[in-house]
């Protein structure tokens, strides 16, 4: 399970992320860098679906760079965080137009066929005028009912599926039926000259919180508890790294599928940079025959 956590110190912000790339039971690699340098003074630590993670963070990075070229000054951390959240929010509710077209045309086809069948001139086979009239009106009634039923059931099905999934699956995955969210959770750490260091917690559901400490994943149960116990505002870099190490220790010892390696990155007035790696499993070189 992917672990990302971070917090703000005295004139700096630090984020740590695990470095395992996992696919079901297979570990692809254990030195995957999940903390991207967004620009000179910003870090994005992302966890979640790896395709989405890379795609989304690179997209944000390039758009932040474009802003800088267009306007001559870099984005503030708050602005970058709000932009990121906005992109996640848009993707959350945006339905592919083709999907709407397919759904609508399907409904139209069913309705048309229903009308055709129900509108078949059965009354042709009757010769008595009053019976013929009654039968014809019955047919029209049946056609209308069919149309109404089509509408009703198609909507009910969507609602029903929504309801079922909402209770069966822990996370609100029923949104799948409506749109295509990016499954990436982000901690955005940055340093601005005017406002100092800041950390933003951005959920895949486009939650945005400015926080002093934050964490994602199963590891968050352990790292948040450790940070609640030991964190105080205005920590020095040494104290901060000590706390990060404490959190990593807890994750390693208490999480059943604990990732072995972590990377720690820091951002302060001198910029965003890699601070250290904490490796307990190294990719060993292949022994020669």
């Amino acid at each position: 399970m992917e672990c990302v956590f971070g917090f703000v110190g005295n004139g700096f912000a630090v984020v740590a992320a695990d470095t395992s790339a996992v696919h079901s039971i297979l570990v692809h690699k254990s030195n995957e860098d999940k903390i991207m340098v967004l620009d000179s003074h910003k870090l994005i630590a992302a966890s979640g679906e790896s395709g989405d993670r890379v795609q989304f963070t690179e997209y944000i990075q390039k758009n932040v760079a474009l802003y800088q070229f267009r306007n001559g000054i870099p984005l503030t951390t708050a602005a970058a965080a709000n932009f990121t959240r906005g992109e996640l929010a848009t993707a959350l509710r945006k339905v592919h137009p083709l999907a709407i077209l397919v759904a609508l045309s399907l409904r139209f086809c069913v309705w048309f066929v229903g009308l055709l069948v129900s509108g078949f001139p059965f009354h042709m086979f009757l010769n008595e005028i009053p019976v013929k009239f009654l039968f014809k009106s019955l047919l029209i009634f049946v056609a209308a009912m069919l149309d109404a039923q089509c509408t009703y059931w198609s909507l009910r099905f969507l609602d029903l599926a929504n309801l079922v999934l909402k209770f069966l699956i822990r996370l609100p995955m029923h949104i799948f039926l409506l749109a295509n969210p990016y499954f990436v959770n982000i901690l955005l750490a940055g340093y601005d000259k005017e406002t100092g260091p800041s950390l933003y917690y951005i959920d895949y559901i486009a939650t945005l919180h400015k926080v002093d400490k934050g964490a994602f994943g199963y590891g968050s149960y352990f790292s948040l508890s450790m940070m609640d116990r030991h964190y105080h505002s205005g920590m020095t870099v040494e104290e901060a790294i000590d706390l990060v190490d404490k959190c990593i220790m807890e994750i390693r010892s208490r999480l059943v599928v604990a990732p072995p390696n972590f990377v720690i990155k820091i951002v302060d007035k001198d910029g965003a940079r890699e601070y250290a790696w904490r490796e307990s499993v190294k990719d060993a070189a292949v022994a020669s025959a």
Partner: protein
């Protein structure tokens, strides 16, 4: 004052002559293309690529209905991201582009180009800046207020020179010119007598 030299990416800069409003549109598209290229192929653009893109854009608007061409020609400079070789390209409203060792564009560009043809030598650093300013002084009133100079290096990217720096170099050039004049006079005088 209006900035005529803009950076498109960390390693590419553009200077233009013509309709500034059209320039804004073109520069915006070029900047987006630079980032888009980085996103899709994970490589910075080469100078030739972005020049081809800008020229292609300018050409497109000469072959459609209801549009007019972009009224500007551009000079694009940059370093190749891998070989580190610097290049200079020029585009014009028709959409043609070509590579140059030295060039000028805009009003009185012909006289400046002639000057460069006579005096161009592959120099570096301060000498190159002086050559550029000398070419500009042929057609422009001297003074830091009327001249905008920017240099691009591989390490530091685009750097706009300060007005004071430009004034200093202009003064240097004026002094050299005066010295040359004086030397010429000294040579001519003995002949007269």
């Amino acid at each position: 004052s209006v900035r005529k030299i803009v950076s498109l990416d960390d390693h590419i800069a553009l200077a233009c002559a013509g309709l500034k409003a059209d320039a804004r549109v073109l520069i915006n598209r070029a900047r987006i293309e630079c980032q888009s290229h980085r996103l899709t192929v994970e490589d910075p653009v080469t100078v030739e690529y972005i020049t081809r893109y800008i020229a292609g854009l300018q050409q497109k608007y000469t072959q459609s209905g209801g549009v007019r061409p972009f009224g500007l020609s551009t000079l694009i400079i940059g370093f190749d991201p891998y070989t580190g070789v610097p290049s200079l390209y020029q585009t014009d409203p028709s959409g043609t582009f070509s590579a140059w060792k030295a060039n000028a564009t805009g009003r009185n560009s012909n006289s400046m180009r002639e000057f460069l043809e006579k005096n161009y030598k592959e120099t570096s650093g301060h000498d190159t800046i002086k050559l550029a300013i000398r070419a500009l002084l042929e057609v422009v009133e001297s003074g830091g207020k009327n001249i905008e100079v920017a240099t691009m290096t591989k390490e530091h990217g685009l750097r706009q020179l300060e007005e004071s720096e430009i004034d200093a170099i202009v003064a240097e050039i004026e002094a050299e010119k005066a010295a040359a004049e004086a030397a010429k006079k000294a040579l001519a005088a003995p002949k007269e007598t």
